[in-house]
Structure formats: structure tokens, C-alpha cells
Symmetry: C2
Subunit: 354 residues, 2 copies
């Protein structure tokens, strides 16, 4: 068991988007301070963090002084370059650890790992060439989705195949990036579990939420999810198995498909997750604080749900309606303070207590 | 009706303590940024604010550049010098307005005003000399409390009289500061109402909480308060009357004594209030966000209580137990990030959902 970070200790956060922003706010509730490292200018997290470094992930001097200024390092997204992590690791502990990050950075490694610990995943096959893709179509079938192994999010880096005849076009669209062909899963609904593991190995899982996507982007998460208790318990057991197998410290998001044959793990995210934003208004301790507690060596908080919540993302120009939502009974608004509104960009969310 | 502040607008906050800290966090949920003005070094609010000015209230240059950098000015305590407000007022709107601040800065003015709008207050008399005090004792009686008209808080600037014989000692202890002698009120319990009024004149009141003080400092606030609904409604009506009479914009804290003869207003605070901290874990929109909404020209949020809460202050070394509290079911912790722990200093609080 690690000693909890003392009051006033500094958490380094790689990435300054909305997740870093809400992590920094959560850290303040524990008397901890944050230092944001973010390549982009005017990061949303900088509005509520004491220290901000604006530098690229290949700026060794900036990385070094950041690493030397903090007591622990965490991250708000999984695509931090390996070279940056190698340097930072020599300066402060990185939580969640490198193995969790490496596993989830690569769709092939992730699926292989999940299968190795006994969890169901969608049928998949590796694709490095057009020949590979044609063989993959034979094993996985169509319809299916070709996805880059790395750096994909919110539906980006993906091509859908409805028949074998789509192979050439799909392959070309990924411009030679190493890829995985994933079979479609015939599912009833998607749920996710936001789960945390402390440095002492304690685990706390929030109740599973029901996720609905629109145009490949999460639109709503509803808790409780409309599933039987046995399904909810199985989802929590899957998340627990992943946390333990990875000797994980922090919050992990696990997306699962509910099928007539049981649960299929869609993907994992080694960080706080959009589908856990409902916890801000449904629980005494939200996912952001739970993550900070874990990486700071604190005990985890009570994950029980005091109210039912529907979380709705505000995408692009949805944000212009925020003052209207703000007047509705039982609605909490969360704006991300992004400088520019763009179509498809997550600009904020609302939690409706129901 | 004022136009709501646009995303990215900057709220200036006078004072960088825990109230400013929690106001800044609340502003971030609305996509607004904060600039803290605070004479003391390392203000707790600076951990979660984008801009901090460290300067005294008589530094005109610092006040001017602060005032020019913000879209609206609010404050976390009532003892801002008049000269500073005079300068700032020429640069940006101050909310709540000067009349509310002036009224509450002076115990005599406050009591006179509250009585003038038909509310009950404790018997009182002004004391500028020992002769005044002796006359005041005749009208108010003993036991009673001599209080400085200005700059008192948490039991400071007060002397208790158990009989007329205590007059000289009590008078000397205030070192010639203008004072008020207040009669004791024989009350069953103290409650408070945290009430907000928007620029449009809309009013939203949180449910009254029951306050228990120890050594002159708030120890716990419990909601719902153990009072009949008629008492709760009367308390809310009193708060509403004050808000309207002052043409108030922002959150106001109103402390009231519940007596067998009805409600007696103890004091008002033109700001967010310690007895409203429970709203962070009992309501979709807490007092801090409600205040920011009001001063930013936003619509007020739903003040209804989704859960019962007991708020307990962590005073002095109580803060050392915070990680223990953090493990209890239904408990949310809120540390203030103060650099030094001192006896009697408010270091944090916990909200227990019950």
C-alpha cells in the first residue's frame, strides 16, 4: 500500500481537454493541485489548474521540468507517445501503469489480451495488407469494420465493409496503417462499467450505464441500464477481472455489448470515460475524484448511486442551448470551455436527475 | 434582463479563500473563467482559477488592471474596502450591488434595515461610548453581546455581558470600535436559508438547513431542518423579502432563530455561505453555481433537494482525518487546500448523504 499523497501535492495530467479539466476540479476537493501538460494552446483544463505547460510530447526539456514538478503522473487520453512516457517514467510514477496503456493503445493487443483472460470479444483478425484483409474477411465475415490498430476515437480511422467487394476501398481509406478487421456483434444494447482500483488493490465499480451512440459518437448514457441484475453483475465481474489482471491503478472504462449469448467486451479505455460523466450528479464521489483518489494513493470512495441520471452529450452547436437546459428541473450542466465550436466536437454535457 | 455572459467570459472574484475556490470550480461548469484578487499569498482559489492577482486592496494599479480584465465582479467576503469598490465599480459591474454590501458590512445598518422591511431582529442599541453602553443595557438588558459594527466574523470582535457590571470590561475589549449591543434571543434552534436572485428578478431558495455552532464557529448544517413546513416557508419568505428589497443579484445567506414567537433574523451574508455547502451534494445545482449563474446573468437552476445531507466542517486538525472520512459510505469530502493548519481555521468540510 502506497502512502496517500499529502495535502498540496501535485498531480501531473497529460492532456488538457475536458477530462483533464474535470480531473483537476476533482483533485481540488482532495486538497491536491494539478499541473497540465498539453501541446494545444488554451487547454480547457487550464481554466481550473494551477500549472499549465504548453509543449509538444517530443519537447524533452518541457517533459523533464513537468516530470520533476509533480508527485504522480496520470493522463486523460491513451495516445501519449511512448518516448514521452519513457522519459516521464524516470521522474515520477505513472498511473495507470505502462502495461495498461500499451494494451489499450493497440486494438489488436487489447483484443488479444481480453481474450487471454477469458473474456468474450468480437471476432477479429489482423490486417497489414490487402491480402490479409481478404483472408480476414473469410474468417470474420461481413458486415464488418476495418479499424486502425492505433489512434482511433469517436468513429475516426474506421471503414465499414458490407461485402467482400468493399475490401480495396476500405483498405485504401486507412492509408496503410496497421489495422484490425472486426466482425459485427449482434447486440441488444451497449453498456459500460466505470471501475476503479486503488494502490491497495481495492476495487469500486459504478453501476453500469446504457450507452446510445449517434454517428459514432456517444450521445446518451442512462443509469440504471435496462438490464437484469445478473447482467449488471457479470459486467462488473468483467471489469474487475481486467483491473486485477492489469494490476491497474485508476479508473478504467469498459464498454460491453449485451447479446443473447452473454456479454462481449467492445473496448476498454485506461482513463475516465465519457460514459461515466453521470457519476458527477448521481454519486457522492464521481469518476474523476475516484481516479484522482486512486492515482494519489487515497482510499476509493463509495460508488453507490443516490439518484438515476441521464447524461446527454452536447455536440457541436448543441452547446448553444446550454442556458436553456440549465433552467430545467433536476438538470446540471457541464460546459468544457473550448475556444471553438466545431461539428462533432464534444462541447459539454448535461446530467438530468430522473 | 441582462444578456448572459458569453462562454469564456471572465468573472472577477474579490477574495481567494475556500468560497472563491468553490465559486471558480462552479464557474467552470458554465464555461466561464475566473480571475481571483487576493492580498494573501498562495490563495486556495488560485489552485482552480486561470488568473490570480496578488495585491492589496489599496493597490490602485492592480485593482485597475484586474477590473479591466473581467466582465463582472463578485466577492467571497463582505469586508472589501469602500475605496477599492469605488474604483472597481467604474470598470465592471459589481454583483451583488453596493447597497447590499454596505448594508451587511455594518451590524447597525443591517439590523435597522431588516427591521425597516418588517422582519424581526434581536433587540439592539448602538454603542459608541461607555455611556451609550450603560443606556443600551437598560433597553436591551443582560445577558447580551457587545459586537463591533464592522469586520466581525466567527465570534471575533465580540464581548459577552452577563450583568451591567461587565460593561467597562466589555467596552474596553473592543478598543473603541463602534459597536452594537445585542440582546440574547431565546431560540429553539438556528436555521439558515441560502437564497438566490437573478438579474431578471427570479428567486430560487434552497431548503432551510439546521445550523449547530461550537465555540462560535459553524460545526454542522443538517437538511432538512427539523422544523414544520410553515416555519420553513416563513424562513424562505423572509429571505425572499430581503432579496427583493435590496434588488439583489447573487446568493444571500440568511441566518434565522426559530423561537416560540416566530422567526428572528440573526444576520445576513451577501455571498455564498458556509451553511449552504450541503447543496454541493444535495442538489443538481449548488449554491456556488447558483451565485455564478446570477452574477453572470444566467437563469437560476433548480434548487430542489434530491437527498438529505449533513454537512460537517473540518476545523483545524480535523482535516487530518479527511482520508478516513473519505472511505465512509455516502460521504463526499471537500478540502480547501490551505497551506497551514491552525486551530479554529476552516480547513474543509464533508457532506454526508443520509
Amino acid at each position: 500500500m502506497t502512502e496517500p499523497l499529502a495535502p498540496g501535492a501535485i498531480i501531473g495530467i497529460l492532456g488538457g481537454g475536458q477530462l483533464g479539466r474535470m480531473l483537476s476540479v476533482a483533485a481540488s476537493r482532495l486538497g491536491l493541485r494539478c499541473h497540465i501538460f498539453e501541446p494545444g494552446a488554451a487547454p480547457p483544463a487550464g481554466h481550473v489548474a494551477e500549472f499549465v505547460t504548453t509543449a509538444s510530447y517530443d519537447d524533452e526539456n518541457a517533459l523533464r521540468s513537468f516530470g520533476e514538478s509533480v508527485d504522480v503522473i496520470t493522463y486523460e487520453f491513451e495516445n501519449v507517445p511512448t518516448s514521452a512516457l519513457d522519459l516521464l517514467e524516470s521522474l515520477a510514477p505513472i498511473r495507470p501503469g505502462r502495461n495498461a496503456l500499451a494494451t489499450s493503445q493497440d486494438r489488436l493487443d487489447e483484443k488479444t489480451y481480453l481474450r487471454s483472460i477469458g473474456l468474450e470479444v468480437a471476432p477479429f483478425a489482423t490486417v497489414d495488407s490487402l491480402d490479409d484483409l481478404q483472408r480476414a474477411i473469410e474468417s470474420v465475415g461481413t458486415p464488418s469494420i476495418l479499424k486502425t490498430r492505433r489512434f482511433g476515437y469517436d468513429g475516426k480511422g474506421q471503414a465499414r465493409l458490407t461485402s467482400a467487394g468493399d475490401a480495396q476501398e476500405a483498405f485504401d481509406s486507412l492509408a496503410g496503417a496497421p489495422a484490425v478487421l472486426e466482425g459485427f456483434v449482434d447486440f441488444d444494447l451497449e453498456i459500460s462499467v466505470i471501475a476503479a482500483r486503488s494502490t491497495a488493490g481495492d476495487i469500486a465499480c459504478f453501476d453500469p450505464g446504457h450507452n446510445v451512440h449517434v454517428d459514432g459518437i456517444l450521445s446518451t448514457t442512462t443509469v440504471p441500464a435496462p438490464v437484469d441484475d445478473t447482467v449488471a453483475q457479470a459486467a462488473i465481474a468483467a471489469a474487475t477481472a481486467i483491473l486485477d489482471a492489469l494490476d491497474y491503478v485508476g479508473v478504467l472504462g469498459v464498454e460491453l455489448f449485451v447479446t443473447t449469448d452473454g456479454l462481449v467486451v467492445n473496448e476498454i479505455a485506461p482513463r475516465v470515460h465519457n460514459s461515466g460523466h453521470w457519476t458527477q450528479n448521481g454519486c457522492a464521489v464521481d469518476q474523476f475524484e475516484q481516479h484522482i483518489r486512486a492515482v494519489a494513493g487515497w482510499p476509493l470512495g463509495d460508488p453507490s448511486r443516490h439518484d438515476d441520471v441521464v447524461m446527454t452529450n452536447l455536440i457541436g452547436e448543441d452547446i448553444d442551448s446550454i442556458a436553456g437546459f440549465a433552467q430545467e428541473p433536476g438538470v446540471a450542466v457541464h460546459a468544457y470551455g473550448k475556444a471553438e465550436t466545431k461539428p462533432g466536437r464534444k462541447m459539454g454535457h448535461i446530467n438530468r436527475i430522473v
